[in-house]
Amino acid sequence: MKRWLLALLMLAAAPAAAETLVSTLSNSQVLITSSFDGATLSMFGSIEPGAEGTAEGPYNIVVVITGPLQSRVARIKTSNYGIWSNTDQVTFQHFPSFYAVISSGKLDAIAPPDVLAQYTVLPEDQARTTAQATGLKAERFSLELVRMMGEEGHFVMQEDGVRFLSNNAYAVNLQLPSDVVNGRFLVRTLVLKNQQLVTERTESFSVRKSGFENFVFVASRQQPLLYGIVCVLLALGTGWLAGVVFKR
């Protein structure tokens, strides 16, 4: 939440730019149904001339997608007297459950380090800024957490994911995994030219369960006793029915 406000403030404080960005998402809402198996979103954008000046490329685009924030913990196992057990851990408060950086080229080639740092673009920075630890320990666990998130498909780096349709228009495809966390997703688009930030834009979409899936989830949270009783009746009923069907 804090970071969103920060992003909005920076947006408001930006000087009257030579270019403006117009963009749209294919869906403002991803609905999860019983056959949900991940989703693909498309994003289209165009760099338009602003109040002053013209829009002439070549431009580079960096799109950063941040999923709902969670508290996550990374742990390390070490061997004590021959038994492997968790011995150390670092908690990451308000850490994104999903994070994707999609750009039109190698990040270090198209964006200066200060812009990357200012917008905490790099996944490692997401971990560093949320780690509840300091020094070497925070650094080590941050790198490992980002690696594990990447292995599970929650963190994505796609340095050739932005397709330019013309000099000023581009398209981006975003894949959401099937175990995506429900909630609000923030999409920040940075437009760069000659390694300088030209303009940027923030929009969002949400992922939520619909229909029966939503009903089940809400029931388990708001009527837990009733939900548990229904589970039990379902179990007893299924067991009884199987006994009857196979009795012959």
């Binding site: 198996d37 196992k77 998130m149 388990s220 039990v232």
Partner: protein, 310 residues
């Protein structure tokens, strides 16, 4: 075909879920145990978050045991009086187990605790059953017929006060060891997401000397009752019972259990016990190895409870 699990918040293959439910159900029908000790680790290994796996398997175990318990009830193979005491005690144990589960999870030692308990419990029970089954087999080979009922040796347990007569089991014993076994089974079951049948059956046979014809039925009834209580407790406290996951497992499990039960008729009791002992020991060794062998990745991560947005 993928199916979305609303509480686990991920989608899994429907046939895979029904399939592992069926495979474990077959074994549970064969041996008269719930099968939770196999299903819970299988689900965790397949990527289901462990709180959801532990809480949802309880529903499946209840379903798989229900049909078995019903058929034993029709045949008069249940000591209702004994089961009542066990159920009461295990309900209390289950409450303590659910509380312990939450405490260990926040301390980050749940994995270690689960591995060590599985190792000790399964290793101990598996060895015990193996030794007994092999001994019976050897006696049978020598031509000695072992009675269905174990000799009622008088142990220290029979000197305890508050003796109660359990007619169906032809027992006149103190209620204290019965309650102690019940509480322990309830606690372990809720904590590990297992029905506890694989502990209860040997405990009833070796400790209380319950005759063979009512052991399995009584144990199944106790498992059904305890799993129902645990499901409701988990729904109330951890809110991680996934009804869709549980239902997929139930459908496979109940069907598999029927086939397992009919396959069991072709095997002798001691052979069944030896096979079950092998299975239990294999799972124990698997948990033992994770403790001793260096992990492929020393790092692991988890979402802290309460971190999920509503």
């Amino acid at each position: 075909m993928q199916i979305y699990l609303p509480i686990a918040e991920l989608s899994m293959n429907l046939f895979f879920l029904v399939g592992i439910g069926g495979a474990v159900g077959f074994l549970s029908g064969l041996f008269g145990v719930g099968g939770g000790f196999l299903l819970t680790p299988l689900l965790i290994f397949s990527g289901v978050p462990s709180p959801v796996a532990v809480a949802s398997v309880t529903g499946q175990v209840a379903a798989a045991s229900t049909s078995g318990a019903l058929s034993y009830y029709r045949r008069g193979g249940i000591d209702l009086h004994l089961a009542m005491y066990l159920i009461l005690a295990s309900t209390i144990g289950a409450m303590a187990g659910v509380a312990t589960f939450s405490a260990l999870r926040s301390a980050g030692q749940l994995d270690l605790f689960i591995s060590v308990s599985y190792l000790l419990l399964l290793g101990f029970v598996g060895t015990l059953m193996m030794v007994e089954a092999v001994r019976t087999m050897m006696r049978r080979r020598q031509g000695i017929v072992t009675p269905d009922r174990l000799p009622s040796q008088h142990s220290w347990m029979h000197g305890l006060p508050m003796r109660i007569r359990f007619k169906k089991s032809r027992l006149y014993i103190s209620v204290l060891p019965v309650l102690a076994i019940g509480v322990f089974i309830g606690w372990v079951g809720a904590l590990l997401g297992v029905g506890g049948g694989f502990i209860l059956v040997p405990a009833l046979v070796y400790l209380l000397r319950v005759p063979g014809n009512v052991v399995i039925g009584t144990s199944l009834l106790q498992v059904v009752a305890m799993m129902c209580v645990t499901t409701i407790l988990q729904a109330l406290t951890s809110q991680s019972v996934d009804i869709m996951l549980a239902f997929c497992l139930m459908v496979g499990g109940t069907i598999g259990a029927q086939f397992g039960a009919s396959a069991g008729k072709y095997l002798r009791g001691d052979q069944l016990r030896a096979l079950l002992a092998l299975l239990v020991l294999a799972v124990a060794i698997r948990f033992g190895l994770t403790l001793v062998l260096p992990p492929s990745d020393p790092f692991s991560m988890a979402v802290l409870a309460g971190g999920l947005p509503q």
